[in-house]
Symmetry: C2
Subunit: 231 residues, 2 copies
Amino acid sequence: MSNEKKKAIVLLSGGIDSATTLAIAIRDGYEPCAITFNYGQRHVSELDAAKRVAESMGVKRRFVADIDLRSIGGSALTDSIDVPKNRSHKHIVSGIPVTYVPARNTIFLSFALAWAEVLNAHDIFIGVTAIDYSGYPDCRPEFIKTFEELANVATREGVSGHHFTIHAPLIHMTKAEIIRSGFSLGVDYSLTHSCYDPLPDGLACGKCDSCHLRKKGFAEAEIVDPTIYAQ
Amino acid sequence: MSNEKKKAIVLLSGGIDSATTLAIAIRDGYEPCAITFNYGQRHVSELDAAKRVAESMGVKRRFVADIDLRSIGGSALTDSIDVPKNRSHKHIVSGIPVTYVPARNTIFLSFALAWAEVLNAHDIFIGVTAIDYSGYPDCRPEFIKTFEELANVATREGVSGHHFTIHAPLIHMTKAEIIRSGFSLGVDYSLTHSCYDPLPDGLACGKCDSCHLRKKGFAEAEIVDPTIYAQ
């Protein structure tokens, strides 16, 4: 009998949610294989954060996929559209913002699925949340459920009787609950990055939607936010 | 009232099937926007063929997406695994061959979906066929149907009440039927490329599964095959 752990692919962006998801995959007994996307995001500090987070949790297998979403366009996260600042919480959580990247999680999960099939893994972890989620359609339970169905008809593994599971352990959690959960699992949030529009030296702007949700999450979790914000 | 045609995204690889699909999208009254993938395929002659085919049909908007599936691995089409040669037809159409690229059509359609959303298009054409299809799971009607469902829950457009349609007009056609159909629409098949393992000068090998299906298709359609094969 093999003592090998079951492999799982974990989408790791370097933010709070994906770092917590990685810790949950490890807690659940998986050997995590972390996939990170270099997609032409303006906030490339994410990539360094993903590396630091993976190293801090002993991830042995990492894959950075280069995909040029900037050429496709259509988002403030990849184009020269201004990232909104100082929006109210109510405004942030209603509607779909300009930071929406068309079909981003569909593309990310497709690559994760391809890598899963090559590594003979049947579990994929993604840190989406439908609460405090800034209105992205591809962060909802319907999306995750439908992608799981797709994974099982799209692949050699799926049609051979194996079953792919898309795990979204944070989907019904608030940012504060996520932070508390990760904190209890030993996640070092000082290594993570959230800001959509960091300063040239990498400092978080403190004013974009993502900084706002991060600050609010730590405050509500009653845990000290290790982040240094420019404002 | 606008006389503008409705845009459609057409996945264009440069082979017989995608060239025919492009002709069908044009026949159906769409303004085609062609997306081609540079995915580290061994048969890069495909990319030149896609350009020639698009130009011959007056496509105004083209997008070549660079995505590195070679780093993910797992296929004879991107890795240094031998492309099978001289297999019998029965052998070709049974089982999933080593030329299967994990999750390829899922990845391709995800990019097409992102581009569709940016261009405000709601129709995507893909030239998959479940007949003579070399056993790829992501060429079956179940896959197309499930991806269409996904498109409509994954995107801003989908949740805003628009409806994405994935058109797979060849799905129930044999290669001979596809060739006859394209021939009647004026497709110049001499511009297309099928071979999985072309010679250094671009000549089709004549022995791989794809060359076999091409030869057989023209023979059955009783149309002269314009291809020059090495053997």
